[in-house]
């Protein structure tokens, strides 16, 4: 009789642990979803400002075409091409805003101050959002690799989380706004 009670107690404890771990994992997946949505929002914002700049006529024709093309491709990219396209946009932005003069030219155009502020905020926030996203992915992976989680399939049908890897370095003329 006592053995039965012990077995029952052990089962309850194991059950509680499993339910708690499943809850923990669920929360981590929710965190990844939120972080991914935030990253998407920042990337879209960046691409829109870049496209706006590309069509505004403030920049020279070569820079305009380069920016427009990169921004367009970043927005249209399929999911598996996204990282490459967004990296290309980072490179295009770096090429265009390598010199402080280019940023100054935009600032002097009507409404340019706001556009530049928006772009500066976007190139600063993309790496932030990406870091938060990848941090959530790493935490979820660490839990999912756990033996108990794999044996009892606690992750359910949620896809294995993937980090978002891209080149997100800010252009020199925009990254150092603090020095201004």
């Amino acid at each position: 009789m006592t053995t039965l009670i012990w077995i029952l107690a052990a089962l309850i404890v194991i059950g509680l642990y499993l339910s708690w771990t499943a809850g923990r994992l669920d929360r981590l997946h929710a965190r990844i979803d939120a972080a991914r949505a935030a990253l998407d929002a920042q990337l879209l914002r960046r691409a829109s400002v870049a496209q706006e700049l590309g069509t505004s006529g403030v920049l020279d024709p070569v820079a305009s075409i380069v920016l427009y093309q990169a921004a367009h491709e970043a927005r249209q990219a399929e999911e598996d091409q996204r990282e490459v396209a967004e990296s290309a946009l980072s490179q295009a932005l770096r090429a265009v805003f390598d010199e402080a003069e280019q940023a100054e030219a935009v600032r002097e155009a009507p409404g340019g101050e706001q556009t530049l502020a928006e772009l500066t905020a976007a190139v600063r926030r993309v790496p932030m959002a990406r870091r938060f996203h990848n941090d959530a992915v790493r935490a979820a992976r660490a839990v999912r690799r756990h033996r108990v989680v794999r044996w009892f399939r606690l992750a359910g049908h949620a896809p294995f989380p993937l980090a978002f890897e891209m080149d997100d370095e800010a252009p020199a003329a925009l990254g150092e706004r603090a020095a201004a």
Partner: protein, 386 residues
Amino acid sequence: MRIGIVCPYSWDVPGGVQFHIRDLAEHLIRLGHEVSVLAPADDETPLPPYVVSAGRAVPVPYNGSVARLNFGFLSAARVRRWLHDGAFEVIHIHEPASPSLGLLACWAAQGPIVATFHTSNPRSRAMIAAYPILQPALEKISARIAVSEYARRTLVEHLGGDAVVIPNGVDVDFFARAEPKKEWQGRTIGFIGRIDEPRKGLPVLMKALPEILAEVPDARLLVAGRGDEKEAVAGLPAELRSRVEFLGMVTDEDKARLLRSVDLYVAPNTGGESFGIILVEAMSAAAPVLASDLDAFAQVLDQGEAGELFTNENASALAASAIRLLRDPSRLAELRERGSRHVRRFDWATVGADILAVYETVADGAASVDTDERVSLRARWGLARD
């Protein structure tokens, strides 16, 4: 935005983290945000209107010094009430990886949580043992902030994952506009920090002082900070003791005036620093800085571009650099100019905007912060089985 900030250490005890939180809260309130700070404090301590007390903190030895921490049922209940009443869009926890109110809040909350890691302790046995306990709480943090590249590196090494680097903020203009004081000017070397805390490095400076005075006899050392003054000068030859002036604890205004007055500010700290706010304050006041080459200091000083560095704990290296600088007014002027330019990135206008950007990134589209009900449910089961 409705923002909740959790301060890990007693509000009534002065400290870097507390000052950082006070300035951040006041900066955000000035920008029109609703801010509430939860901090340990005695019930009779007068608190600013935006601070909520989490109860009295208990002194406990931790991490090499005595920390005053909150734990137990009362504190946990207050944390939950604060979270519930505040209905914050985001909460910002400081020092969640130390046994403090920050960790309690991390346990009790769910939703968008931002956390700032201030210290960069070398990996301790306690941390390794506590890792499985800490991990589920730390997993809830949506965004991590490290105060320096050095702090970020230790964070990544110890806890895994990643963080963005946002330095501590300083009100640069407060220091830049302070009025220099006549009696603190004229070949003066400044030191600010606890006298009796060896890690602040006053003993190194005292060891270097005879050498400095041998070459620059009219130099004076001004020391501001708490501690036993007699003990501090004990190692110094009697005839040199008059060259050291103790100012005791100084007010913020006097600190700014002191930094504006001195010819050279020396930071001989030997370790335990993850940021070095005092260097930023010195540069804000356009004081030339000579600091030990700790990782954190080297980063704040832009690898020696904005201030000079000497080999840590090496008194003769400190003396040699100090003598060279005190004899070279043009170099001092150059350091003043470089420091003032470099320090702008630490101004609250920049730092505050970055922190708000983090808040917005995690709060966008997410539900607001609430108490974590799963925890209370388990607690209830736990009680039922007792």
